[in-house]
């Protein structure tokens, strides 16, 4: 089984790849959309701004390929941080931008979501998750994961929420719909629990 990491010119490719290599997974960096067809599982990483990242996905043809592979061929996809946010219908950073539309919801700045703590949210934080999501198998409730973000899913419009964290507000930390998963935190930076989560993603049944 091959894991393809989407290289659209932004993002935490290096540490994501290293984390999968540590699990002895057959992982590769897809440098253009055609290369992604070989992937049995897809990882969409991300660090940066929503509109810039979507522009890169659109211009290089990633958006069409991802929609085809995920919607028509049901290949499991994991979005991490900004990669999770781009799964949404739209983002609000620097004006409204259309997202990939895999998970219903809108991305808003944390203070717009009612967060009273300082922004960005950086550091370890406890995750509360829905017990039956396969992504959280063998991970104890309230495990710590590493977060770095200023925007998040608007929970009111995100029925696919599978995990939350408390940070001046209850924020959406994980989503799941069909064969698409997303984590607001960085599993590749999150020690033992993060490692288990990535291992779980390798083992989710195709959907």
């Amino acid at each position: 089984m091959k894991i393809g990491i989407v290289n659209y010119g932004m993002g935490n490719l290096g540490s994501v790849r290293r984390a999968f290599e540590d699990l002895a997974a057959n992982v590769f960096i897809a440098n253009h959309p055609a290369a992604l067809h070989e992937a049995h599982r897809i990882v969409l990483p991300g660090v940066g701004a929503f509109p810039d990242a979507m522009a890169r996905l659109n211009e290089a043809g990633w958006t069409d390929t991802l929609r085809k592979l995920v919607r028509e061929e049901q290949r499991p996809l994991l979005g991490i941080c900004l990669g999770m946010q781009m799964l949404a219908d739209k983002g609000t950073e620097g004006g409204a931008t259309e997202g990939l539309g895999f998970i219903p919801g809108t991305i808003r700045r944390l203070d717009e979501l009612g967060c009273t703590a300082r922004i960005p949210h950086v550091g370890w934080n406890e995750l509360t998750y829905v017990a039956d999501d396969p992504l959280f198998a063998h991970i104890p409730q309230a495990s710590d994961f590493y977060f770095v973000h200023s925007y998040a899913f608007d929970a009111g419009s995100a029925p696919a929420t599978t995990g939350t964290a408390e940070y001046g507000v209850r924020l959406v930390a994980a989503v799941h719909s069909g064969c698409v998963w997303g984590t607001q935190f960085h599993p590749e930076k999150s020690s033992k629990a993060g490692r288990q989560l990535l291992r779980n993603f390798l083992e989710v049944r195709s959907c």
């Binding site: 993002g11 290599e21 540590d22 950086v122």
Partner: protein
Amino acid sequence: MLRYCVKCVMPHTKPDLRIDEQGVCNACRAYESRKEVDWDARRVELQKLIERYRKPGTNWDCIVPVSGGKDSTYQVIRMLQLGMNPLCVTATTCDLADIGRKNIENIKRLGVDYVEFSPNPRVRARLNRLGLTQVGDISWPEHVGIFTIPVRAAVQFNVPLIVWGENSQNEYGGPAAAAENNVLTRRWLEEFGGLLGLRVSDLISTYGFTARELIPYHYPTDEDLQRVGVTGMFLGHYLPWDGLSNALIAQANGFTSLEHAVEGSMVNYENLDNHQTGIHDYYKYLKFGFSRATDIACLHVRRGRISRLDALEIVRKRDGKFPWSYLGKPLADILAPLEMSVDEFVRVCDQFTNKKIFKRDADGALAKDAHGNLEKLNYDNS
């Protein structure tokens, strides 16, 4: 509770660190595999690469970003030994210490051309305050500028090759990652450059800065980088990197060390250039339960110079002490440009402290000794 690597003394809370089933962290594993690196072959690679960029006196051969520290002194020495004519570029630190200035002057006297770029100190003081209160990094503008300014200089002076020192990820990467371990790109900066989720664009949209105040903190455009052909390489990929031997070589070439160990660490040869470094390192302790003494102890444990037991004792003695002074400058004076009192500083510290790893009193408040020092719940695995 903190879980520590059983070979070194690094706790699991360091982001990106992985501790395997045997209890050993990936940095220790990566160091073991370094023995497989063919350093002779790497040196030949370096020679070849450098030949490609050497010019017949029409322009500088490379840019060497220099802080004035032991590592940058070493980089300049190596480039001169290889017959290169570097242009050395300093992005002035946020609060330069006298000994740091002395060591910058020493670098010039090694026999190089040199430019220093100092961003607007008033803007910087506001950025220091924002960095400290929002992401817990007082020297955030420095941590951006040390990457953006040399790259801007490369574009400005039309010098394509930038010779960086160590890839800070190297100590943590295995052989599989080594292929990309020799270059520094915009993406490396975004991923590992320590921006902590605070982006330069946020400063304008959210925190009331203007574009004209932030020019030095912008990475050049892709077009500019392509036009000049800017390539950043890490010297640590080609030559085995060791802080202590770099310090010895630097000292033999006029570098000045401190007469005593630096506050919060057990060595006298590094982090001598910025009075804010004590605060920076203290915040790492508050967030993750380890600081500079742990970093240095781990490096020396892996290289077989001290035992793990010695390292534990050193860490307990030196790591994470409240930063009352750094390089002799009192905390109140270091905070003055930020318009922050020591009391306010302590409140900000408490907000950033990971309450799960430090002792608390009966009321749940952080327990501190008479000097304001915290105590970790555990200093080893048992």
